[in-house]
């Protein structure tokens, strides 16, 4: 009789523990900004992909040409600026 009561008590304790576990371990929703931020991180191209993109000589030539043209424009604007500033 005593043993069966003890067993029943232990069963009840385990049942109560399961209830506490269900309360403590609840699904949580990650904040939406976090999900977006992580998505951005994941979508960032891998190193291999960047190397692959730079691999094509046509694309490389275009990038090189673009950078040089940009530099040329910047230098020209800077020179014009100093020219007019010096005239005053």
């Amino acid at each position: 009789m005593k043993r069966s009561t003890e067993t029943a008590n232990k069963e009840a304790q385990l049942f109560a523990l399961e209830g506490h576990l269900a309360d403590a371990l609840k699904p949580i929703t990650p904040p939406s900004d976090l999900v977006v931020r992580m998505r951005e991180r994941i979508r960032f191209p891998q190193r291999e992909e960047i190397v692959f993109r730079l691999g094509g000589w046509k694309r490389l030539f275009l990038i090189y040409g673009g950078v040089m043209s940009g530099l040329l424009v910047t230098i020209t604007v800077a020179r014009a600026f100093f020219y007019f500033l010096g005239k005053r």
């Binding site: 385990l14 506490h20 609840k26 699904p27 929703t29 992580m38 998505r39």
Partner: protein
Amino acid sequence: MPDTEFNEEDVLTRASQGDRDAFGRLYERYIDRIFNYVYYRTGNLHDAEDLTARVFQRAMNHIKNYTDRGVPFSAWLYRIAHNLVANWHRDRSRRQEIPINEVPVLTSKGDHPEKNLVRSQEEDALLRLIRRLPPERQNLLILKFVENMSNAEIGSIMGRSEGAVKSLYHRTLLALRDQLGDQKINLDGE
């Protein structure tokens, strides 16, 4: 997109061929689960964010090598998450003591904030105890309670039979109950 249109096998095939959009769909489908898993294993929002991102980055880098061996894709993701969390714990233990009593700072789905506050001390104590359990037991509890998985589903993820999961669960409950001896958590009714 509705879940009915999601054919995991097809999406997996496309993702393994380098289709980023297909991988994006897998990400949308599993982000919550992996985040929950990592969050409960670390107890830290920032590290959970960092580790979850790394799980998906690693998955994306290795999805070409993914082969369907009859286990769900989620098992593969959980395995990656498990390994990263294990590394995280190892690195942390080398550097400093882990603040395992960090409180969950996110709101649970469909719960009242006041109710959360009232229960937080008990929950914290229990979460601390859970984080002291061996990783396999922690995984089991997270999958069972957070993910609401059946023993069979947990078994397919953990690589164990349904009976073995049931037995491990029972032993975990007994271990937790014994450890609760010194805690204030009332197991004899409210």
